[in-house]
Symmetry: C2
Subunit: 211 residues, 2 copies
């Protein structure tokens, strides 16, 4: 199935949700699922779901529902999860360490190659099998090792400099946890996890309900 | 300034960004800022910014820019950050511990009251000043202490049960890190941080650029 061009960001953001729910159906040995059943599970309307899948050429036969395994494989392929990705974490503070320890990502095929920090107290420590290395050595590490994704967990003031270093050394994906809108060139992809913004949104919503 | 009703979710999601950038301007002793200058910093168009602020009744005088301190205070008030919020963390694994250690939240006025877990190895440990307590005791804790926000960091299979317990005991805000779409009643607010979905979106975007 060929992917159509210009898929909207809204559809793209829904794909990981489909992937997660289909993985769960697979684990529960469900063979077939209708858009209506998926709708009940995921919370999007059945028509939304059919429309989304049509963006990618459609996966189902009207009235027969979707083959769960096929759909899972297709979405996995569309997301690019049939490939492996090597990652490095920069910043071994609370969030950096938590992500290094988070085994869920291994399962998706993400391979943590290195962790960098500037703190002498952290350098030399191991998280799982990966040693925390001096950030000074990142550039030479990137020259010798192909790294797909840089996970930025440094403080705000250092984040752009770290991103520039990653980009200048061929890293094409940035997963940013620093509370900053990092600038990257057009051939580099970025996803931000702005925890504070999420928490502040929650507080707004709580106060809004309270009125 | 009175808040208008029916502010769109898109505007709400931009408020924390304004708040962050204004805090930075304040730290740098900037007194006034125009929508054009804000636009260059934040990346939204100047017209978007003026439109957003108009949702809340407008803050500036045409041609004079905004008073940074006033604007910061107003947005702080709109977000509800002029109040304090008590929180509990449920699940003291990697993410739960990282959040408990994350001092950024203290500054916003979030006060971590308790951390709960089921793991006997973790119970009794302290993170900063807060002891990890047996999850069995959460219900009685919530009966005796007003808690505004429950931060869910438990595995997927336990997340809904934990959310139900929080909601049944009067917690009005859920910040959910479990990879699950938790169901809450309409009088409860929820914000999800789905880390895996963010990472999978990044991978999709990288592959999309690669074509």
């Amino acid at each position: 199935m060929d992917k159509k061009k210009d898929i909207s960001m809204a559809v793209i953001k829904r794909l990981p949700k489909y992937y997660r729910h289909l993985a769960e159906l697979l684990r529960n040995d469900v063979d077939r699922v209708s858009s209506k059943e998926l709708s009940e599970k995921i919370g999007f309307t059945a028509s939304q779901i059919r429309q989304d899948f049509n963006c990618f050429g459609g996966f189902g036969q009207q009235g027969y529902g979707y083959n769960v395994k096929e759909l899972y494989n297709e979405i996995s392929h569309i997301l690019g999860l049939d490939k492996k990705y090597s990652t490095v974490i920069i910043g071994a503070g609370n969030i950096g360490q938590a992500l290094a320890n988070y085994s869920r990502f291994d399962k998706f095929g993400f391979d943590l190659k290195a962790i960098f920090d500037v703190n002498p107290k952290l350098i030399g420590m191991r998280i799982k099998d990966v040693e925390i290395t001096d950030l000074d050595q990142m550039e030479s590490f990137l020259a010798e090792n192909k790294v797909d994704i840089g996970i930025i967990c440094v403080p705000q003031a250092q984040a752009q400099k770290v991103a520039d270093l990653l980009v200048d050394n061929g890293v094409k994906g940035i997963w940013n946890f620093a509370p900053l809108d990092i600038q990257v060139p057009e051939n580099v992809s970025i996803e931000n996890v702005h925890l504070s913004e999420s928490l502040l949104t929650l507080v707004y919503l709580m106060n809004d309900l309270d009125k």
